[in-house]
């Protein structure tokens, strides 16, 4: 068995990449991809712990998490479409109505 910490490192790496994508990409679709990456990194953590502890709780939570991710992603896409309809852009940097 490879050490648990390897799985955790990979998950952390994925999480950071996803975080980077959320904060630094201008394209809204890339933001959503980043969110997905973060969620999956968390899932990977759950599965890894579950395997090394012999506990099925982690697996269960991971499945629920996948379902939630899917639902939330579709909501995000829907919001994006409406934003596009109203502002004709999905560039996050140019959506500044909250300024001030």
């Amino acid at each position: 068995m490879i050490p648990l910490s390897w799985y955790l490192y990979v998950a952390a790496l994925l999480f950071v990449i996803g975080l980077w994508a959320v904060t630094r990409r201008q394209n809204a679709i890339m933001v959503l991809i980043g969110i997905e990456l973060m969620l999956n990194a968390g899932n990977l953590n759950l599965v890894a712990f579950s395997y090394y502890r012999g506990d099925f709780g982690g697996l269960t939570l991971a499945v629920i998490s996948i379902a939630v991710a899917a639902a939330e992603l579709s909501v995000g896409l829907a919001i994006m479409i409406i934003v596009f309809k109203n502002y004709r852009t999905i560039n996050t940097a140019s959506l500044t109505n909250l300024k001030g």
Binding site: L19, V22, T23, R24, R25, Q26, V31, T92, A93, L95, T96, N97, L98, K99, G100
Partner: protein, 706 residues
């Protein structure tokens, strides 16, 4: 031994409450112009009746205490607030007062109430043309309450309370015509200057209380004197007593207008003449003498303090007399004369001639009140206060002239008239005061032998006696003799109405005879005055310096002749100058081309002009105070302003500005780009986690744990 009025003694407080009742009645029921009747306007009758009743009671108490040697000290004080001592459970400290009616108190009760009655009666006529009479009468009533209260209480706290009450009434009454700028300014000056003295007084009281935890005269003095003689007082306590004595005298310096706090009294003449008579001649200014006399048992433990008091007295007497030589306002002559005579009383107290000092207090109260009221009559008749515009009034105002002459004889110290007896005794006391050694104590740096000081005090008193004779009769001659210097056609001079002249007559009798009567009684009952007037704790010291002299000693006393001669010389000089015109003042001091600035003169001798200028400028005191005020007060004001605007306002505005600036910087976070918001949030979260994991355990336990 008990007299017939013994039962009245515990009710001495009634003499204080009666004027207070008069105050309330006048305040509530007085009307400015009830019927145009002098007795009813302004509620005068309430005032007169209550004060007269108080005077009768005071007189009976005075007789009881003096004729039967029966002082009264309240066994149980009236307590207003009590502070229990929780640890020991004892009654502890209290705020309250009892009565302390000894000879000194009884004497003052009598003088104050009697003169107040006279003056209130006089006021009915003098003030009848004024508006706001009700205010005048109730302010007078409040004042009388204050003075009567001060002399009957048995501790310093209540004495101070009544002292302040009098200061307030002085302010109110001097500023009676408050719309007149000079009057308002004079009232303010009086209050502020006496306030300076009051602060010294308060410090003295606090020192005493801090060290001895009581302010009751008997307890305090007995404790201190017994401790002093047994040597059980600590150094700190001895210092406290020495300084406290001088500080209490400092309060007296303010209230009784001694150098350097004398400057308010001449300006206080802006008030009505009756106010000047009551407050600034007969009563309030005596309060300083009273409290010094009251405190003398503890002041006398330190001869240097006594020497200082005598020195200040002598200097003030001389200073004020020189200024009185050159002023033209009749009231101001009397004001400076008052300062000078009060100084004599302090010389008496300082040289342990307590009997003479209080004897002079009594005489002076009578004749000065008489002189002031007489001047009021003159002002009423001649419609001016400036003596240069009077002259030849003696035929037109006969009784005013005669009574003022009586008062002046007394003031100048003409033989056999009352002022002569007391003034000479004070000067004798000054001549005898040189117990040897040098000055030590808080003012040890003066390092002057007593001998020199004694001669200085004596010399100044003697010279002042001459000056007194001169300025007094200068006043008389300028006012009443010679040719009229006013416009006879347009100004009709007439004698004053009944209430005024009758009061003058009554007071003249007292002024002339008070001295002789007292000395006569002393002849029959040796040392009667001194025995009653002087506090029993002080007597052992006082009898070392014999004060009230017997007939034999009187006639053998060279000082007597010296001072009488000098006084008579002063009177004669005034006669030659102003009545006979033999010596013309302008040959010595020149004339003033512009009467409005009498200090600028031409002609005469240089020395004469110089002296005249110095006296008219009041020895530079006004200039000095102005400089102090401008430098000290204005400087302080400017510094305070600077601190307030730069530092305090700067800090508060600075905080505000930094808030604005900081928010300007922070505002840039909210740029509207949600992506950045997310970044901030995640960043903050990461930071918080790091903090939690690494920093906080390190702070708590020390050492990093990965």
């Amino acid at each position: 031994m008990a007299g017939p009025f013994e039962a009245l003694l515990p009710y001495a407080w009634v003499t204080v409450f009666l004027p207070a009742l008069g105050f309330l009645l006048v305040f509530a029921l007085g009307r400015d112009r009830k019927r145009g009747n002098w007795w009813l306007d302004g509620g005068a009758l309430f005032g007169i009746s209550t004060v007269a009743a108080s005077a009768v009671l005071s007189f009976l108490i005075f007789l009881e205490v003096w004729l039967y040697n029966d002082p009264y000290y309240s066994p149980e004080p009236w307590v207003w607030m009590r502070f229990f001592d929780a640890t020991t459970g004892s009654p502890g400290l209290y705020i309250g007062t009892g009565l302390h009616i000894d000879g000194l108190a009884a004497l003052l009760m009598f003088i104050v109430s009697f003169l107040s009655t006279c003056i209130v009666v006089y006021s009915t006529a003098y003030m009848h043309e004024e508006g706001a009479l009700r205010r005048y009468y109730f302010e007078i009533m409040l004042f009388i309450t204050g003075m009567m209260g001060m002399v009957v209480v048995d501790n310093y706290l209540f004495a101070f309370i009544f002292w302040e009450m009098m200061g307030l009434c002085s302010y109110l009454l001097i500023g009676y015509w408050y719309r007149k700028p000079s009057a308002a300014s004079a009232a303010k000056k009086a209050f502020l200057v006496t306030r300076a003295g009051d602060i010294l007084f308060l410090f003295g009281i606090l020192l005493l209380f801090n060290n001895f935890h009581t302010l009751n005269y008997r307890e305090l003095f007995e404790h201190i004197i017994n401790g002093f003689e047994a040597g059980t007082l600590s150094k700190a306590e001895l210092d406290a007593v020495a300084w406290a004595g001088l500080l209490i005298f400092g309060g007296a310096v303010g209230k009784s207008a001694q150098f350097p706090l004398h400057v308010w009294l001449p300006d206080a003449m802006e008030g009505p003449t009756t106010v000047s008579a009551l407050i600034h001649a007969a009563t309030m200014v005596k309060a300083g003498v009273y409290i010094t006399a009251r405190s003398l048992p503890i002041i006398a433990l330190f001869p240097s303090s006594l020497a200082l008091i005598a020195l200040i007295g002598a200097l003030t007497a001389f200073l004020a007399a020189t200024i009185a030589l050159v002023v033209y306002d009749i009231k101001r002559v009397l004001a400076y004369s008052t300062i000078s005579q009060l100084a004599y009383m302090f010389v008496g107290l300082g040289t342990l001639g307590v009997g003479p000092a209080l004897f002079h207090l009594m005489n002076h109260a009578f004749f000065k009140a008489l002189l002031f009221l007489g001047s009021g009559s003159v002002i009423h008749g001649a419609h001016t206060q400036d003596m240069r515009q009077m002259g030849g009034l003696k035929d037109k105002m006969k009784w005013t002239y005669r009574t003022m002459l009586a008062g002046s004889l007394s003031l100048a110290g003409i033989p056999l008239v009352s002022g002569w007896w007391s003034k000479d005794e004070i000067i004798t006391s000054a001549a005898r005061f040189h117990p040897g050694g040098t000055l030590t104590g808080p003012f040890g740096y003066l390092a002057m032998p007593y001998e020199t000081l004694g001669w200085a005090v004596f010399g100044l008193c003697l010279i002042t006696a001459g000056l007194t004779g001169f300025y007094t009769f200068r006043m008389i001659f300028l006012t009443f003799h010679g040719k009229p210097r006013y416009d006879e056609e347009h100004i009709h001079v007439h004698e004053s109405p009944g209430p005024m002249v009758n009061v003058l007559k009554v007071l003249a009798v007292f002024a002339l005879l008070s001295g002789a009567v007292t000395v006569g009684i002393s002849y029959l009952v040796p040392n009667a005055f001194e025995h009653h007037a002087v506090d029993e704790l002080l007597e052992p010291k006082v009898t070392e310096v014999p004060s009230l002299l017997t007939w034999q000693e009187y006639l053998a006393n060279p000082v007597l002749y010296a001072s009488t001669l000098i006084a008579l010389a002063g009177v004669w000089l005034a006669w030659m100058t102003y009545a006979r015109g033999f010596v013309e003042p302008k040959r010595l001091v020149g004339v003033a081309p512009d009467p409005a600035t009498p200090e600028r003169r031409v002609g005469g001798t240089a020395a004469g002009r110089a002296l005249f200028y110095m006296f008219t400028a009041k020895w530079g005191m006004d200039w000095l105070f102005l400089k102090i005020a401008l430098f000290g007060d204005a400087g302080l004001a400017r510094a305070s302003d600077l601190i307030d605007r730069r530092f305090i306002d700067g800090t508060t505005y600075g905080l505000g500005r930094s808030a604005f600036g900081g928010s300007d910087v922070l505002r840039r976070v909210a740029d509207g780009v949600v992506r950045n918001y997310t970044a901030w949030i995640i960043g903050g979260l990461a930071f918080g986690l790091l903090l939690l994991k690494y920093v906080i355990p390190a702070v708590q336990g020390g050492g990093l744990t990965p």
